[in-house]
């Protein structure tokens, strides 16, 4: 009997896992004992970290897109389609349209995050973001016109993709405006929902003095309630109102509705064992990356490491051996601190981050990794 592994989501986690399984299970795939299907609703794989650089004119959205067909091993069945229902009792997926349902022996959910700006009245009309291709290009156009006034960066939703990116944006904007001789005419304000500037206290402690040194104003305990695009103000649940001339936000995030409908977790995030990544509410279901509610950052490095763990566990289970691989919370992030310098952090469930002193070398390391990311997606790096 052929065992069928279905991976839903062709982002970093799903794509790395598909290629990992193609390599790890090569004998079983060749013999027809195992079949692996990767389902994605877009024929392209999108590497989202490119978007941070788009507003500053350093990258184009197309730099972050490649056809999945070019990235995924030929031993994997690639299906461009949308799942409409997950039945974890029958171990079956339905698809939009009239396609017949597909049964699975193992299901991996790697559906990632979606933006939900409509949660905040006025945000869609008044706010810009760099968390989508169109958002990043629109923001680029706005920034090119922006020569003076109040630039407000507001982190609205957490968890959100790439927790370091809001800090990176204000550090880069500060540097970019200085290089262009405009910084004295621009006030930059950064808002964050809790009492410090980042969710991780160690990163917050590191970032705060840099913000003070760079004259970046900070508003903590700021949870956006509404945006008034006509008056150009953003108001918090805590009662603070800020004027803006250019508002950049990290919009609220959510997972896909199918997950909640399948009873796997709230808000589109799958409740998992944070070490095995197995779903708590269903058998033979894994989740990884943003989709897995582990409490670690929603970052590509997390999805990458988790894909390796799920790949090992699936291979063990398919071969009838106990699955022993576990995820230890490993996270790795470069953090841009300007246009020519970056820091770096590495941490896990037990060991907190200790940001490295910013340097040009780390900045170039980040850019070099972004270029070599396509090897990661192929399962080679």
């Amino acid at each position: 009997m052929t065992e069928h592994v279905v991976i839903v989501g062709g982002g970093t986690g799903g794509t790395v896992l598909a290629n990992d399984l193609a390599d790890r299970l090569e004998p079983e795939l060749d013999a027809g004992d195992v079949r692996v299907t990767l389902v994605n609703d877009d024929p392209d794989h999108v590497y989202k970290p490119v978007w941070l650089y788009v507003p500053f004119g350093q990258r184009e959205p197309d730099d972050g897109r490649r056809p999945l067909d070019d990235l995924v091993d030929d031993a994997i069945d690639l299906r461009i389609d949308r799942v409409s229902d997950i039945d974890t009792e029958a171990q079956r997926l339905q698809f939009h349209g009239s396609a017949p349902p597909v049964s699975y022996d193992y299901l991996v959910l790697a559906t990632g995050s979606t933006l939900e700006p409509d949660q905040i009245p006025g945000l869609t009309e008044g706010g810009h973001n760099y968390y989508s291709e169109s958002g990043a290009t629109d923001l680029r156009d706005e920034l090119l016109e922006f020569t003076e006034g109040d630039l407000v960066l507001s982190v609205i939703g957490t968890p959100h993709m790439c927790p370091a990116a809001p800090l990176e944006f204000v550090f880069m904007a500060d540097d970019w405006l200085r290089e262009r001789g405009l910084r004295e005419d621009v006030d930059i304000t950064y808002t964050y929902p809790i009492q410090r500037v980042h969710g991780n206290p160690h990163i917050a402690e590191w970032a705060r003095p840099i913000m003070e040194e760079r004259d970046i104003q900070v508003e903590t305990f700021f949870n956006a309630k509404s945006v008034d695009p006509d008056a150009e103000t953003i108001t918090s649940m805590e009662g603070t109102e800020l004027d803006y001339d250019l508002l950049v936000t990290i919009p609220p995030h959510g997972g896909i509705d199918l997950i909640e409908e399948a009873g796997l977790g709230d808000d589109g995030w799958v409740d998992v064992d944070k070490h095995t990544l197995e779903a708590e509410a269903a058998d033979n279901v894994y989740a990884l990356g943003d989709t897995a509610d582990t409490g670690v950052p929603n970052a590509g490095s997390v999805a990458h490491y988790q894909a390796g763990v799920v790949g090992q566990r699936l291979a063990s289970e398919i071969r009838g051996r106990p699955a022993t691989a576990t995820y230890d919370g490993k996270t790795l992030c470069f953090i841009e601190t300007g246009m020519d310098a970056a820091s770096f952090v590495e941490f896990d469930y037990e060991n907190p981050p200790s940001p490295a002193p910013p340097s040009e070398k780390l900045h170039w390391s980040k850019l070099a990794y972004n270029e070599s990311y396509w090897l990661t997606a192929r399962g080679l790096l």
Partner: protein, 78 residues
């Protein structure tokens, strides 16, 4: 034991900081004025995070119950 009847409960046990506070803020965001939200958290940071935020936001922290393996916070939306 408190006899406060919450209108809704957020179970954030197992979540790392700042997860519990963000879960509470998310629930308060969609609550009506006067609603009482109960937060369950086993993260000790919540003992300082939650009172600080409640005061900052003008919501009232009605009670904190310290249990063996977690704490329960009752917050009334202003």
């Amino acid at each position: 034991m408190t006899d406060i009847e919450p209108d809704d409960t957020v179970d954030a046990r197992g979540a790392a900081c700042p997860g519990p506070l963000m879960d509470l803020i998310g629930k308060i965001r969609s609550a009506e004025s006067g609603d009482v939200i109960r937060l369950l958290s086993d993260n000790d940071q919540s003992l300082t995070d939650v009172p600080e935020w409640a005061e900052e936001a003008g919501n009232e922290l009605l009670a904190v119950e310290e249990l063996d393996d977690h704490n329960e916070f009752y917050v009334e939306k202003a």
